[in-house]
Structures are given as C-alpha cells and as structure tokens.
C-alpha cells in the first residue's frame, strides 16, 4: 500500500511534482503513466526516501520510508537497472543488498533463479546486457518478499520475451495480493499491463481510473467505409451533415454518423459497401489528448494546421 499526499518536489524552484495525491492499493497492477518529465521517477524517489519533498509526504504501509526498520521486507523497487557496481558479481550484489536487511543467502539464490539469472549470477554485473540488469534489479526488489513493489519504466529496454515475462510477473505478484506500481510513458503498454491507471502530467494528477473505464471512455473517433461508389456515398453522407474525409487508399473516414446509420443509408440507396468499421481512437491518442497540455517539451509542429 502506497499513499502519496499533497506531494510537492521542486528542482531549482521548478516543481517536478506539484501537489500530487494518490493511493496505490493491493491486489492490482497500477500503472503510473505520464509523458517523460511528468514526475513519475521523482515521485518514486520520494516514496523511497531518496529525495526529500518540499511539502507533503509519501507513506508505505502507513509509514514514512525512513521509519521502516527493514524496508526491503515491506517494499521492493527497481528504479534504475544500472544501479549496481559493475565490478561486483550479480550474486554478490544481491548478497550485499540482502545482508543489509537481514535476508539470507538462500533467498538470494532463490530470487536469482526466479528471475532467470541463476546460471550467470557469478558473472560481473558489468558484463550483463540491459535485459539481464533489469532482471537483476527485479531480483533485488523481490529479495525481502515485500508486500509492495515499485518498478520505474520496466518495459523500457527488455526484448519482447522479457516484456511478456515482466508483465506476467506483475500480474502474478498482484494476484498474490501485493501492491504493484509500474510506471511507463506509453499508455498502450500500460493498458495491457495495468488494472488501474494513475495518469500524471507536469507533476499533477490528471486521472486516477480503472484501465477498463479509461479505455471505454476513450472517444470513438470515426467510421471507416469502403464502397465502389464512394463518391455517391460521400455526397449522401455530407447531405446528412456527416463529415467525410477521403483516405488515401480510397476509404472514407466518416464522423457524425454511426456505423448503423451509414449502413442503412447505403442500403436505402442500393450502394454496395465492402467495409464498414467503427474505429476507436487509439488509447495513445486519448492519452495524448489528456496529457496534451501538460507536456513540457514538444517538437514544434510543422506543415499544415489541423
């Protein structure tokens, strides 16, 4: 269980996290989503007591991090897969971390096997690939068998197999009743991974919703129609105040009428229809719309106005 209350963190006067409040509950995978620079990592660092907030607080199981006697037994985190000494073997790295929280060597070997680095655990971390370092970081997070887990951009880096494995792991951890917070800047990724979403932009909370609900409420964009008599159909549709845009491949993108109405209209006029499909705006678009005003750095738009 993680609780963030009215948290503000500034770097050089500029707020990185601005009056942010949310709760992360057990039994779910919670996605922590926002554009790069939105304040996700900062929030996680404050939760771990690494950065001190300007105001507000972050609690883990009702306590401030610094007050946890053996924190790794309550919360495990992977913030940066590179946060290990390259000259130390993976097993020694885990042993050092484990020992500081009174965790034994048996558990070290157990988590190394669990994340699939058991066979290479005696190799130096410096030789590890990005994916293996990430697994090492996950192993370190799991050491204390904590009830709460936190991962910063864990899907950014591993290959497809790795991503699938990580997703499965998060779901399994949540199914065991643990609290799992996973950050990402990609909404499409989180829609597949998380049950619940906390969306932030410019350090502020934008949405705190169930993933299902977020997907459902994503605006329905338009209907794609394909017909050999596209021109005739387009004329009929515009007569009914629909907005019709010709797509480069000959299809028509229609908004203002739903698929049923378009189908009936075509049938009434004997116009054959080869394809009729409602298109949801992609999740990513819905998310971009949501966070659009909160992106600090954006490439300048070029060319036509939209």
């Amino acid at each position: 269980m993680i609780e963030v209350r009215e948290l503000t963190k500034r770097y050089g006067g500029k707020p990185a996290v601005d009056d942010l409040s949310f709760q992360v509950r057990p039994g779910h995978v919670t996605g922590f989503v926002g554009p790069n620079g939105a304040g996700k990592s900062t929030t996680m660092r404050v939760i771990l007591g690494l950065d001190a907030p300007a105001s507000g607080e972050a609690l883990v199981n009702g306590h401030r991090y610094a007050a946890l006697p053996r924190p790794l037994r309550q919360i495990g985190a992977l913030l940066d897969a590179n946060a290990a000494h390259g000259g130390r073997s993976a097993r020694d790295h885990l042993r050092c971390v484990a020992r500081s929280n009174g965790i034994g060597v048996r558990r070290v070997d157990q988590v190394a096997d669990l994340v699939g680095i058991g066979a290479v655990a005696r190799q130096r971390v410096g030789r590890f690939s990005v994916g293996m370092r990430q697994r090492l970081g996950i192993a370190a997070a799991l050491l204390g068998d904590p009830g709460t887990l936190m991962f910063d951009e864990p899907l950014n880096g591993p290959d497809l197999d790795g991503i699938r494995w990580v997703r499965g792991l998060f779901k399994a951890l949540a199914a065991e009743g643990r609290t799992v917070l996973v950050s990402s800047h990609l909404m499409s990724e989180m829609a597949l991974t998380a049950d619940h979403l906390i969306v932030i932009g410019r350090g502020r909370l934008i949405a705190d919703v169930r993933t299902e609900e977020f997907v459902r409420s994503s605006p329905r964009a338009d209907v794609l129609v394909r017909s050999p008599r596209g021109d005739d159909l387009a004329r009929l549709l515009t007569d009914r105040r629909a907005v019709v845009v010709a797509e480069p491949d000959g299809g028509l993108a229609v908004s203002g009428l739903d698929a049923g109405a378009i189908g009936r209209l075509a049938a009434d006029h004997g116009i054959p229809v080869h394809e009729l499909a409602t298109r949801n705006a992609s999740l990513e678009e819905a998310y971009l719309e949501l966070t659009g005003d909160s992106v600090d750095y954006r490439a300048g738009t070029t060319g036509e106005d939209s």
Partner: protein, 255 residues
Amino acid sequence: MTSLPVTATTRARDVLAAEWLKLRSVRSTYLMLLLAVAGTAAVGLFATARAKVDSPGYFDAVEISLSGAVISQLAFGVFGALAITTEHTTGMIRTTFAAVPRRRAVLAAKAAVTGLLALAVGEVIAFGTFFLGQRELSSAHLDVGLADPDVLRAVAGAGFYLFVMAVVGLCLGTIIRHTAGAIAAIGVIFIEPLFVLTGFPAWLKDSVLWWAGQAVMSSRPRPGYPSASLGFIVCGVYAVLALAVATFVITRRDA
C-alpha cells in the same frame, strides 16, 4: 510480509556485515591495498639503501624505512574514497539508501569497515616495511629495534596515519560524490605542504596532515615539525572533522 521487531543492534550488525561484504566483493579494494603494500616496500627499500651511502644531517632509522608512506597514503586515501564514490558513479548509492534509509548508519558502517581494514593493513605495511628497512640498514649498523625509545610508537603511528588517510578519503568521497573529484582533493592534502612551505605562517605548518603524519612516524623529534603527540592530535582532528562534515551532508542531499 509481517515485520518482526528488529533491535538496533541487529540492524547495526546487518549494515556492518553488508558494508564488509561490499568492500570484499570489488577488486579495487585489493588493488589499492596491494599497490600500497608494494609501493611502500619499494620506496622504503630504496630509501634505506640510499641512506647507507649518503648520510644526511638528520637521520631517523624509523622514518627512513617508512618513507614509502608517501605512496601508501595516496593509495589509502583513494581506497577510502572509492568505498563510496563508486556507489555514486554507478548509481548503487540509491540501492544502498533504499535498503538502509538511515544514511548516517551507512556512513558509520562504511567508516568502520574501511577504517578497520585500513588500520589492519596499514599496521602490516608499517611493521613489514620497518623490519625490511632495518634489515637493510643493519649492514651499516644504522638499524634500530622496536624496543628502542619511540620506535614502536613511530611504527604503529605510521599504520594509524594510513588509517586516518582512509577515513579522510571516505569522507571526501562522501562530500564530493565523484571519484575524480575526491582523488583531486586527496591530492591537495598530499601537496598541501608545498603551499605551506612557500610563505604561509609557521603555525599553519603544524596543522598540515602530511607533516603531522611525518611527526607521528618519526622516532626522533624533527626540527620544524610538530611533536609526535601534536601529530597524533592533528591526525585525529582531521578524521573527526571529516566525519562530522560527511555526516552532516549525507542526510541533506537527494540521492
């Protein structure tokens, strides 16, 4: 997932054990200490061999055999600094502070394990090079023994001085957080006497770490140097002050 009550002693032991494990599991520890052993022995042998031919006005059989401390003090300072700067440069420090949010306990444990290892190795180096040097000097009948006045204190003092260098190095590393910066700062301590020689007030000379160290590892009072007991005090003050500043800054910065 429930946490049993953990006593302060258990936690302290956990942190100490973890830091000891860290120190033992990286090569730089062995490299620095080996460099110190080899460097001190080589310089000591060279200096004692030369002393037999070339008799200077001031001669101290102990000090001359320990003159390789010029090398080992640097190696010890770097060894101390690396104990924490490698954590900063690799990002390991965030893993460390997340595991043990009581940062002062981390610093204390680091100081304890690096300090004790430095003291142990420092004394081995001091006594080793002392005996090596005396054997060399014995052919010219210039050698002294541990039972001679102030000799034991000077030899043990050399080990103590190296321990102080490691602690100061660790603290500089904690304050500066970069390997290169910390090594540069240790270098400043090393070349400090050169500045003092050129026109600084005389009392400043007594507060120079390297001169204090020289006083500590000499068996005869040396003109212009602080006394041995003042030397010990100056060394101690450096270690305590460095620890105080490091303890102060370590909780006040984002990791």
